[in-house]
Symmetry: D3
Subunit: 248 residues, 6 copies
Amino acid sequence: MQPIRIQVINGNTFAPMTQGIDESAQAARSPHTEVMTTQPQAGPESIESYYDEFLAIPSILETIILAKDQVDAFVIACWGDPGVEAAREITTKPVIGIAEASMYVANMVAARWGIVTTQHRTLDMIHQTVHRAGFSHRCVSIRTTGIPVIETETARHSTIEALEIAGRLAIEQDKAEALCLGCAGMSRLDLELEERLGIPIIDAVAAGVKLAEAMVGLKKQNSKVLTYQLPAAKPIRGYPNHMQPNRL
Amino acid sequence: MQPIRIQVINGNTFAPMTQGIDESAQAARSPHTEVMTTQPQAGPESIESYYDEFLAIPSILETIILAKDQVDAFVIACWGDPGVEAAREITTKPVIGIAEASMYVANMVAARWGIVTTQHRTLDMIHQTVHRAGFSHRCVSIRTTGIPVIETETARHSTIEALEIAGRLAIEQDKAEALCLGCAGMSRLDLELEERLGIPIIDAVAAGVKLAEAMVGLKKQNSKVLTYQLPAAKPIRGYPNHMQPNRL
Amino acid sequence: MQPIRIQVINGNTFAPMTQGIDESAQAARSPHTEVMTTQPQAGPESIESYYDEFLAIPSILETIILAKDQVDAFVIACWGDPGVEAAREITTKPVIGIAEASMYVANMVAARWGIVTTQHRTLDMIHQTVHRAGFSHRCVSIRTTGIPVIETETARHSTIEALEIAGRLAIEQDKAEALCLGCAGMSRLDLELEERLGIPIIDAVAAGVKLAEAMVGLKKQNSKVLTYQLPAAKPIRGYPNHMQPNRL
Amino acid sequence: MQPIRIQVINGNTFAPMTQGIDESAQAARSPHTEVMTTQPQAGPESIESYYDEFLAIPSILETIILAKDQVDAFVIACWGDPGVEAAREITTKPVIGIAEASMYVANMVAARWGIVTTQHRTLDMIHQTVHRAGFSHRCVSIRTTGIPVIETETARHSTIEALEIAGRLAIEQDKAEALCLGCAGMSRLDLELEERLGIPIIDAVAAGVKLAEAMVGLKKQNSKVLTYQLPAAKPIRGYPNHMQPNRL
Amino acid sequence: MQPIRIQVINGNTFAPMTQGIDESAQAARSPHTEVMTTQPQAGPESIESYYDEFLAIPSILETIILAKDQVDAFVIACWGDPGVEAAREITTKPVIGIAEASMYVANMVAARWGIVTTQHRTLDMIHQTVHRAGFSHRCVSIRTTGIPVIETETARHSTIEALEIAGRLAIEQDKAEALCLGCAGMSRLDLELEERLGIPIIDAVAAGVKLAEAMVGLKKQNSKVLTYQLPAAKPIRGYPNHMQPNRL
Amino acid sequence: MQPIRIQVINGNTFAPMTQGIDESAQAARSPHTEVMTTQPQAGPESIESYYDEFLAIPSILETIILAKDQVDAFVIACWGDPGVEAAREITTKPVIGIAEASMYVANMVAARWGIVTTQHRTLDMIHQTVHRAGFSHRCVSIRTTGIPVIETETARHSTIEALEIAGRLAIEQDKAEALCLGCAGMSRLDLELEERLGIPIIDAVAAGVKLAEAMVGLKKQNSKVLTYQLPAAKPIRGYPNHMQPNRL
């Protein structure tokens, strides 16, 4: 049997986070799965604003274009799922956003769940992601910690302390029964946090990898009849040849 | 490595459908997964009404109780996910409904999707299932065929003909880009229907099995802090000892 | 004039609660109405989880089947309205759930209202009931007390104390202007609680009885064209003859 | 026992419609109920636009003010429930709008229902009424006939013909299982239309009267703590003394 | 070039507020715009209840009828937009409600915003206005101050103190990023409040005037094909000749 | 008085469309407004897919950065409002998307409205834009024509023919009362289409310009307390110095 090859793409360009995401992804993969974690050539060191997000997307898409013949599925490892709809246009292979993956998992283990995340300013981005997914009636808590994305990797101790405080408020005040870690940088903190809080904590990167494996196993391709058709051939200025639609 | 053991539970008591579900589940499972397909001791031969559904649930739950120490996850194989919330109370193991599983998969392969299903009278049941899941903005078509559940197994040819007609209307009139097969009895018709219609067709049983594998791989248990706590000890008249809460 | 005959069905099998519900129903009925309160042969002593609820439903439905030629309407006296859709399939007579009845009444006396109820774990069940009914924009508060259902009958004093505390929070923090008593066991506490809190308190059993009388007066039968058709004839294993669809 | 006294208020000033509404209300009332049907002193002959509706409301409210010590409940007999929130402010007695009453009844007899009504231009008014009530997921069809309100009284034959056509489309194309008659002038056509269409047809006036009786029986007053408090004392120019808040 | 003529209509009959609204409107208008601020002949001194609102509307509409040939657009200056749909029926000229105008502006300067307003009892009116507009996912805070409408003009100091307190709660607890002043009487307090709170404060009257100018500039008339057609000719009793539909 | 300076940014890089947008914007501007229309340095020739959209955004944002000290407001002239949230982070000046602008205008002239647009594949993009804005209850029709964006400029005759056909379906089948032109390339077709269809047709570019003028007149800046704060300083690889957050 051929191994399943999954490319996990850190949404940002901070190498230590790519490393951390890889650890989580490798731990989550099945034995017969190969996981290759990478980061875009270009884009922000961390994604904490709409500006960061939109500047990250082109290179995320380029990463997918360059790898699409070598892998079986893609995981976009940034809570917010930047570019996921576009990615589904440019490949027939499954593309999983870790936000949606972790929310699906949360739905399957808890009736009411929440999200704990980084900077306060991302509150609206998280809220819109939940709303767009249709889970406003299931997600009962969004708690930001004020921790910058970078520090989720570089200051693990204070990150977990902050997550514990936020998580306790989510449980006690909002009656959350499970929590999604709302940033790829927080992955691998789930077990420690589960121990402290006593409820399921979803590592979104792990959720993304497992759903990617499931999708490859199902052998379903992205629909190509309407929305997710290959982009029509046309010049796209300022982008390299391999990103031109007629080369996709 | 221990194999993953998944019990797939046909929601109804029609043995040929259990057999058909098993074929689909076996085809979908990973090599290291063991799938055991079963059907409840009691309940309707087919589920086509709320009455059927509610009479099916107790025995579905009993099936889970009896197996919960032997398996790693459960798939409730009836579009409508009968009893899934209760099942999550009585076990810490993942419980996957095939309706939710197939809708998650549909979300990942298509921007707009629909459902093709059996008797016309199930329209509201399907509609409520979609609404409860939060996907009213993604599910653009629910098309019933008038085919009884039993005939999805016993009259494969007319079933696929009817599904093709319904599916074509979903694509052309409602602009659906993928379709969920809204009945466990329709499983294994996905490839033939894909060929006829040219869009992804989701076999809900297969989707359930793959998501169950993913959930086992994630090693997350059902939250036990609020909604999905074990039912409190109390007498439940007319049910066997092994279904009494103090024995769970 | 023929009297109106209403069967009120306690959702659970705790006889003192059946007695308490009967008192409320008798107090609420019009002079020309006969109320017969009963409880299912089988099922949990109290309904506080999805498991309890699903195990209660078959015998609730059986109760309706056995009485359907003798009465003019049914009230399912359990906040959560277990089995109400199925009940409407098996009879043409009106079937009223006390949750929906009390929410309709709340809508007619207050712009914003809430629900006070029993165990904390029922929060999601209540929330889903409100969401399913369409009243998320009217129901501004769901407050659980931690009181077990049984104690609503056996510990009236502490129940009303707890309801007062919960109600005061609903009024002061959530700006609720009326409250539904979210458990049949709480019926007959409405007047005392109204006095303490100064807002309308809806006894859901009383609301159910009055709406049942109204429905009988309107002489409307359940629609039999699509969803609420009689269940199709088929064997339902493990259930008595009188519950088989071909005998309904 | 004191009889229940219900005032039914035709929303408009077309006397033949008031007479028709009275017939429906008298037929629907219980033996121990007295129904007095009236119409406002001022306002449009028929309500078919927002302009008509807003000019009708002050006199509807005046009618309630003048009668509030003589009756036990009010029914505002115009689909759209003009002024119902204000009416609940100025009296503690139940005030029932026939739109909400008929939608509650529809919910209790059918999973999916629709509305058939008068002028095409009222489509948005009906749609907003359904949306405001929270029933967008239950109301699957709004069909206008182009019949002016006045003609619902004066041209009964063509009205019922038009309703049959609209109703058949609602059943066949939109899968409605019951229909609300979306105009007080259509009352008493329910039985004839039921015979033609084979599904429950809700006479909204009858629904309003029965719910009013139910509310009186429940002995609940409108909440007076926040929204429905008596209007604060202040001069209201151009209105008679008895409509000034300090006289209410 | 012809100047743009905008009539701003205070919803109530309190002359000092009309004066205050005029100051705000004059300050907001473009140099080539003429603003005429007026108040209805009849109606309540202040609008703080549904009763007040419904009694205000006929004279607001009369004001528009009398001016409709002299002006280019109307602004209804009462948060709640009383009568705006009817106004659009009786004129082809743009009619802007200050509630909708201020919410549109809020959407354009902030991801999450709130409303600070007057009497506590208006909470539901504000909430329904937001819900009707479709902005429940953007409006994260509605804070009432308990200040009567009249005092927003006559007690400016205590009003701004109360608004500051309410606004601070909206920012800190609800994470609002901008605030609409939810009463026309609060206009001209925006700059002072912005200074105190550090976020954009929307003067709804100013917002209404600027959107009215924009609409006149676009040269679009109200749609006259369905909902906003001119009201059909019919007698409207108790209203003057110039308000009869056949004279509109 | 200083003139108002508005930069209108064509979302794509097709110069004839920039020219067409400019004509519409110049025609819509007030005499004291200066409009400068431009197009991004990089990005697709036309935006017809999520891929196109995401590749267009960075250069749209760059355009804003380069101009932000020279102009008073920005209009992003692409139906879908690409990058509008990010743009509000990087400037305090108003940023208006033409989709939101045209939907606000539609709300003010019609109770029910629709959108006519280009390629069939954009159906989901349009639908999501409406859903995100909160107008699912007002937008009753989305009709695609199959016309490529480029042809809206280069094949005006067939474009208007196709729009008329789509518009007539929107009016007759979906009961739309006004239509937004769902592509910047369709601007200046509004008057011709109004004549053919008899309902208001909204030129989204014109709507954007007028709302931008209104926003400048209101002197409100984007909120800088939470979501729309300036992006935090951090390296963004592959982007020029002037796009680095510490230079914004």
